[in-house]
Every structure is written in structure tokens, then in C-alpha cells.
Symmetry: C2
């Protein structure tokens, strides 16, 4: 996501449009990218360190963006 101090024109455009669509009560909208990475192995600490390195060096532009890494269980589909 864009850092708080960085202007977010896309988020502002969404925010301005909401009242016109009948949606009140939204103080601010921020828009950003979301990546979902499916790993071969377990999401253990070593894997998460690697993912943080990917985010830091490639997936995020850390000059203007911050990132958060979160583990989410996939809904296993058993046939």
C-alpha cells in the first residue's frame, strides 16, 4: 500500500465517487496492490523471511509503499 504521506489519487477518486453512488460515512479510501503467493513448502519462519525479501526487493516499491506479509490458510479442496 502507498505510505500514508504519499498522495493516493486512485483512492481519492474512489472516495469522491462513493457519495454519488449513495454511500456515505467513508472518511478515507486507500488503494494498493495485493499479491497472493502459494508456496511449495510450509509457511514457516524461513519461508516468510524469503517472502519478506521478495516484497522488500521486488514486489513493493519501498520508497513509496509499505507492505505487510500475512499467512492465510488455503481452503483445501479434497475430492
Amino acid at each position: 500500500m502507498l505510505k500514508p504521506e504519499i498522495l493516493d489519487p486512485q483512492g481519492q477518486a474512489v472516495q469522491r465517487a462513493l457519495p454519488r453512488l449513495g454511500f456515505e460515512g467513508v472518511r478515507e479510501v486507500r488503494q494498493g496492490k495485493r499479491f497472493e503467493l502459494e508456496l511449495d513448502g510450509p509457511a514457516d519462519e524461513a519461508a516468510l523471511d524469503k517472502v519478506r525479501e521478495m516484497a522488500e526487493t521486488f514486489l513493493a516499491n519501498t520508497v513509496i509503499e509499505y507492505y505487510t506479509v500475512r499467512v492465510e490458510e488455503t481452503d483445501e479442496v479434497t475430492a
Copy 2:
């Protein structure tokens, strides 16, 4: 995020680049949009219904995308 059955060229481009950058072990990458909405009032059930309606009708293209709504506490900054 794009629905699983929808081709995700951006995610695939990221996935192909990772090994070249020295990152192995990532089976799949999906890329999508993330919106953070700061509400005037509490994130109660009525407010969440409104946010779901915003997502369904405006923030997501539900023909090709699915969305999830999650409440996140903001880190209150007290001066």
C-alpha cells in the same frame, strides 16, 4: 482478486521473474487490488453490509473478481 479460473498474466509475470531473482519455492502468484476504507463510525454489521455493497457494485468487477471484506484495527496514534 481475480477468480481462480481467470488467467492472471500479471501474477504469472511475477511468478516467472522470481527464480531469476533467486527466489525458489513459489508455486503460484496471484495479483489483485486492495482497498483500505476508513469509516466515520464503528465497523459494525450495518457498516460492513454497506462496505460489501460498495465492493459488490463498485470496487470489484464481480464478473471476473471475488472480494473479501476484513476489519482491521488502525494503530491509534495518540499525541
